[in-house]
């Protein structure tokens, strides 16, 4: 018996409980999802009557005959990019401010993390009211200041408007992560930079950011995954519309698998593609994290 296999054998009892839980909660449902995606099952009909279609659903989705699928992929990527970019910038800004603030930090932190305490459903409804063309507070303010009535959820604006809500929801989490990172950085290099007369920007660009890189990557990973699976707030705000303006993959999955269609087989195929897409992106980010650690 080699030393390696002895180590593996010794680890088995410790890893097994976790592996069993993972199997029960993740692998078995994922395998079932994959199986359903290979059928043409429609919700409501007897389960026994499900036709096996093999890769039919995937061919329909990936072969280009389903125009809305590719639209929803593009929307998901755009939405995730906007939300990730926006929340990283905003979160970093808030973290830097909080890190530099002495008095009142607790109060500011409480205000900042408030969106975290609000459920996506409530947040979505709140923003829907704020975006309302006729009665919304945003148009009320815009009306007073500029005499404007903006259609926030129009075909042209809806994706950005929903991304703003996404940023509002994600930024506090990002800010808290960055703040923790900033506070754990060693003081020495910063003091040396100050003595050398480095500007704030130079310090940030050449010290803070490189030292925070692993944290930035972890936060990006979480935010991208969260943005790709966003559903609740977008559903409440626009239901994917108008038209297909905000039809991100989870919304398209819901519309197909439940909503007004109930074609669970194809809906499961969309869900599986979403999982693969998320895993691929996560894989890239994890590799980047590993490279950052090794560097």
């Amino acid at each position: 018996m080699t030393k390696r296999s002895t180590v593996h054998g010794a680890a088995l009892p410790w890893v097994a409980p976790c592996a069993v839980v993972l199997c029960l909660l993740i692998l078995i449902p994922a395998a079932f999802l994959l199986y359903v995606s290979l059928t043409g099952y429609e919700l409501g009909f007897p389960w026994a009557e499900r036709p096996f279609v093999g890769m039919g659903n995937y061919q329909e989705l990936l072969g280009g005959s389903d125009y809305e699928f590719w639209v929803s992929v593009r929307r998901s990527v755009s939405y995730a990019s906007l939300v990730t970019g926006g929340s990283l910038l905003l979160g970093m800004g808030v973290a830097l401010l909080l890190n530099a603030t002495g008095r009142g930090r607790t109060f500011v932190m409480l205000v900042v993390i408030m969106p975290l305490a609000i459920s996506h459903a409530i947040g979505g409804l709140m923003w829907k009211l704020m975006y309302n063309v006729e009665f919304g507070v945003l148009n009320h303010v815009f009306g007073i200041l500029f005499g404007l009535k903006v259609n926030w959820l129009s075909d042209a604006n809806a994706l950005y408007a929903t991304a703003v809500v996404g940023v509002w929801m994600a930024a506090p989490f990002v800010a808290l992560f960055f703040l923790a990172g900033l506070q754990s950085l060693p003081r020495g290099p910063f003091e040396a930079a100050r003595v050398d007369g480095a500007s704030w920007w130079q310090t940030f660009r050449h010290l803070t950011l490189p030292m925070l890189r692993p944290i930035v990557l972890v936060v990006t990973l979480f935010t991208v995954i969260d943005a790709l699976r966003s559903f609740g707030a977008i559903y409440l705000l626009t239901e994917g519309g108008p038209g297909v303006a905000t039809l991100v993959l989870p919304l398209y999955m819901y519309r197909t698998g439940f909503g007004y269609s109930n074609i669970l087989g194809k809906g499961s195929a969309i869900a599986f593609v979403l999982i693969l897409l998320t895993m691929a992106l996560a894989g890239i980010l994890v590799r980047m994290m590993r490279q950052a650690r090794e560097a």
């Binding site: 919700l43 259609n151 239901e239 108008p242 007004y260 109930n262 074609i263």
Partner: protein, 453 residues
């Protein structure tokens, strides 16, 4: 002092019970006793949506429990989710619900999927109160909302049609009269658009997708168009008459408020109630809210009119909600007792008085009901007649197939592209027709309604 309070409470409970017992006729009390003997203590679970009819039923539930001993739990689910939820429970055979409130337009889909129990044996059985009078339910509603494959699967609980409501004060101010034709409606909507600060000419549901398709189908027949020929089951979307009706709808919506492409009935109604629109083209079931001072700022300023007459006649929708018993229900008899009580002829005036959405012919002739708003009742009758015109042609507002919802979803998505200016109406109907053909080819059920008056 304390015993006096207790005594007063006891007296009021006794009096309260007496009032309940007195309110019900001898027949109903006898029926209640019979039900109580067999099913007293049962707890029913009813799946429903937030709706004026649900509110009325909930208000009537304590009396039902008092009379029959059957307790009722309501599981209220969002309108857009209830169907999937009920199908999910059916597939999983959970037997979670004893009563399903369902969208009447989907009755054929419920039949195709075998979700609901046929109700004929219950209707003729002893659990139906004397004088229930099934024939008194609106014939078009019985047929459209409750029947599929020749079987009675549900009882209409909220028979809605669509009609116009307009601001009488504004119409008087500008010397206008209620629209009667599609031409007049368009003209008036355009006239009132921005006539006063922030005023929309018209509001109605127009959210891209299924909602827009439903709005469009309110006007197709007026122009001799339709989405599907319900005899041959060929799509008729590309007919010039259907395209004309779409163009008319798009013109009408241009007189609507900014962002109408996101309007469901909810936004349309709240905008009208806030006094920000001159005309409202929506479901009759929502009328009580327009006249509710807690919700509306235009109470007493509203006139009503039936849906407009087009070049090919006046047609209307028969839509709404019904209640049925899932095949897996655990308490089918008690469930029927609940449905029968709530939809009985004897309690129809109570239901209407509590804001319910009527489904009985006798309610339309009920003096008290008519007296509370004669204009509304007149327009309501005319709207039902317009709906009956469609039934007389042998067509249903929603094509009677199990894939109707999916069909509307696709048609409404393409019509939405036309509304957003991304496609011409001609291209939109061409794309929609292609998808409709594919959907219809996969349909399990395509009924052929016979012309009925």
């Amino acid at each position: 002092m304390r015993w006096r309070i207790r005594a007063a409470l006891a007296i009021s409970v006794v009096l309260g019970s007496a009032v309940i017992a007195h309110a019900a006729s001898a027949d109903l009390r006898q029926w209640g006793a019979q039900v109580k003997a067999k099913h007293g203590g049962t707890t029913l679970v009813v799946s429903g949506i937030p709706h004026p009819s649900t509110e009325a039923f909930q208000a009537m539930t304590p009396d039902f429990t008092e009379l029959t001993g059957i307790k009722v739990e309501w599981d209220l689910i969002e309108t857009g989710r209830i169907q999937s939820k009920q199908f999910l429970e059916h597939t999983a055979k959970t037997g979670r619900y004893d009563v399903n409130m369902y969208k009447g337009a989907s009755v054929v889909e419920y039949m195709a999927k075998g979700v609901l129990q046929p109700l004929s044996p219950f209707l003729t059985g002893e659990l139906t109160p004397k004088g229930y009078d099934y024939e008194d339910l609106f014939p078009a509603a019985r047929e459209t909302l409750g029947m599929a494959g020749g079987a009675i699967l549900g009882i209409p609980t909220a028979s809605e049609s669509f009609f116009l409501a307009y601001r009488k004060d504004l119409f008087q101010k500008y010397g206008k009269t209620a629209p009667d034709t599609t031409e007049q409606l368009l003209e008036l909507a355009r006239f009132f658009k921005d006539k006063e600060p922030g005023l929309a000419g018209i509001v109605m549901r127009a959210q891209t997708g299924r909602t827009l398709a439903l709005a469009w189908s309110l006007l197709t027949h007026q122009f001799c168009g339709s989405m599907v020929d319900q005899k041959t089951w060929e799509t008729t979307l590309e007919k010039p008459e259907t395209i004309r009706s779409l163009k008319y709808l798009l013109d009408l919506l241009k007189a609507g408020p900014i962002g109408i492409e996101n309007y469901t009935w909810e936004e349309a109604t709240s905008t009208f109630m806030a006094g920000k629109a001159a005309i409202w083209f929506e479901a009759t079931a929502l009328q009580p809210w327009l006249e509710d001072p807690k919700k509306s700022t235009i109470v007493g300023k509203i006139g009503y009119a039936p849906p407009p007459k087009g070049p090919c006649g006046r047609y209307g929708a028969m839509a709404g909600w019904a209640m049925g018993i899932p095949v897996e229900a655990q308490h089918k008899d008690a469930a029927w007792a609940f449905i029968a009580y709530m939809t009985s002829k004897e309690l129809a005036p109570t239901y209407a008085a509590k804001g319910g959405v009527i489904s009985r012919i006798s309610s339309l002739d009920d003096a008290k009901y008519v007296a509370h708003n004669p204009d509304f009742v007149k327009a309501l009758k005319a709207s039902y007649e317009a709906a009956a015109n469609l039934t007389a042609k042998g067509e249903k507002w929603v094509p009677p197939t199990d894939v109707a919802t999916r069909l509307h979803e696709r048609v409404g998505t393409h019509a939405g592209n036309a509304l957003l200016g991304k496609e011409t109406p001609e291209d939109a109907v061409k794309a929609a027709a292609k998808e409709v053909r594919e959907i219809l080819a996969k349909a399990a059920v395509k009924e052929q309604p016979a012309p009925k008056k």
